[in-house]
Point group: C2
Chain length 313, copies 2
């Protein structure tokens, strides 16, 4: 086999998924290694190397053009992971350099949400679009803003932190130290916080009362699918906060679509319909009825791998 | 004289300024015609034509490469002015077409704040910058977002409406029909509204009490320069609202600078220092101490003319 391949790596706080991708966007081999459980970044790189080097040899070292990495707080200009709160290692990590040296190929790194955005643009729901916003709803909230067909990286490579736009002035305390950040409301973590607050304050019946102290976004999704009123209302509220905040973002970049990706977005219309409703309610007139609200068209694990691999070409 | 020239036109609700600009960014001839007072857009175009055609003949028709127009709610993709609340004529006006036909040259039109942004990027405070935000503080608040060295126009040409980002949820009623838009606080109009509210609610002494019912942004600036405490506090408050809101915008495009332009910005440090302070207070850690807060380096009238003319080249 002499097909050129790019390695896409999607680095998360818990797991690191990888895929070898050809130019048509087909993942010819994929797998993952744990991110967690390594005391040092060197130990993690060792495991990654031990896993990948034999596969690279098998696929043909000469076929591998390079590696693209998507990681939280990744900076495309420096190749560094910069103070990522959800990663096991603190400070500034020169991850592109470490991965490149381990595999003997050139490596390029960007923010995980930016990588997913590039994946959607090349192979997914944003195919052919030049102006869109990608929102990843996972443990936190990540984003990639594309304008004029280009990812907005900003002067320092750190643009697109929609999760830390203030959604509620003087609202919930965020891990970043500020108050009211969007991701404290609109993420798997955020919806659970809302649920816990409501269950403590209210006394309406809900399946969710059966999970005291260990509520998850998945449990909320299951309850909502069974018609649980409080669970459905949680999506309504989360969609309201998202729709309101995104209406302001539309006024900045006037996108053709906003694409939602990640665990919480798997709730589908239960979440997307409230987002769409509150987005439209809050949009300036000139933007009304123009912005598509879409779910990612790529499998969760694949968008970031495909996007990261696309950095290489 | 055989120098190539571009005509830059800055269209406002009251006046329309024009300038013939050479490739070095020098305005070789300028002037203005009233926008107001024409019952129809045709009558306005007639006056513009009668003024400009003799000048074009004098400068040499063959030297004129084209005309660039900056106008409120201008759409670069269609060349139309779209429902501009502050223009004398309502609805959709194909202004680029009308001006182009009147002068017999190709004409291109964009949003007035975008034109000013291009002017700053080519000849002003943003020279050499690839990522910045231009904010015009006039009767309303306009903006141009530049990322990767390109103006963000959005999929429909209508991006960059920072004035209609919600600064205060459920706040002041805006002309657009929504509540709490930034321009109701941070503009010549906005600061006067704040002043009138405060003068009615409070009883501290202020020079501004001498202007009952006819306060202007200029009167506030004059009072502040004389050390009037209430007037200075008005800049502090206006800067707070701007700084808070712009901190969210920085999280989207991570600009190298935010450049302020227009009548209210002429207050200089009285406004810029509070903006800088509240911007820094509200920024996510990774952006702190990186964003320059600057005043436009171009004369008020010239930035939009220069920017509009730059569309032609």
């Amino acid at each position: 086999m002499n097909e050129q391949l790019a390695l896409g790596i999607d680095m998360g706080g818990t797991n690191t998924a990888y895929g070898f991708v050809n130019k048509r966007g087909e993942i010819v081999r994929k797998g993952s290694v744990p991110t967690k459980g390594h005391d040092s970044v060197e130990a993690f790189i060792d495991e990654l190397k031990n896993t990948l080097v034999p596969i690279v040899a098998e696929l043909g070292k000469d076929n591998l053009i390079g590696a693209g990495i998507g990681a939280p707080n990744g900076n495309i200009y420096t190749g560094e992971i910069v103070f990522a709160p959800n990663m096991p290692w603190k400070g500034i990590i020169p991850m592109a350099k470490l991965v490149g040296e381990a595999l003997g190929v050139k490596a390029i790194l960007t923010n995980d949400a930016n990588a997913a955005g590039i994946g959607e643009m090349m192979y997914g729901a944003a195919k052919g679009m030049k102006d869109f916003i990608l929102v990843t709803l996972g443990t936190g909230l990540g984003s990639g803003f594309v304008a004029n067909g280009q990812m907005i990286y900003g002067h320092d490579g750190l643009a697109g932190e929609l999760g830390h736009v203030i959604a509620v002035r003087d609202g919930r305390k965020c891990n970043c130290g500020r108050l009211g950040c969007l991701e404290r409301y609109a993420s798997a973590t955020g919806i659970v916080i809302t649920a816990e607050e409501w269950l403590a304050q209210r006394d309406d019946r809900s399946i969710l009362r059966l999970h005291p102290g260990k509520l998850t976004a998945k449990a909320i999704q299951d309850a909502a699918r069974k018609g649980d009123t409080l669970a459905l209302e949680l999506y309504e509220y989360t969609g309201k906060i998202l729709g309101q905040t995104l209406a302001d973002m539309v006024a900045v970049t006037s996108p053709q679509a906003i694409i939602f990706f990640g665990g919480l977005a798997n709730a589908g219309d239960m979440l997307l319909q409230p987002i769409k409703k509150y987005l439209e309610d809050n949009l300036l007139n000139i933007y009304k009825d123009k912005v598509q609200v879409l779910q990612s068209a790529l499998p969760d694990a694949d968008a970031a791998i495909l996007g990261a691999s696309a950095l290489v070409w």
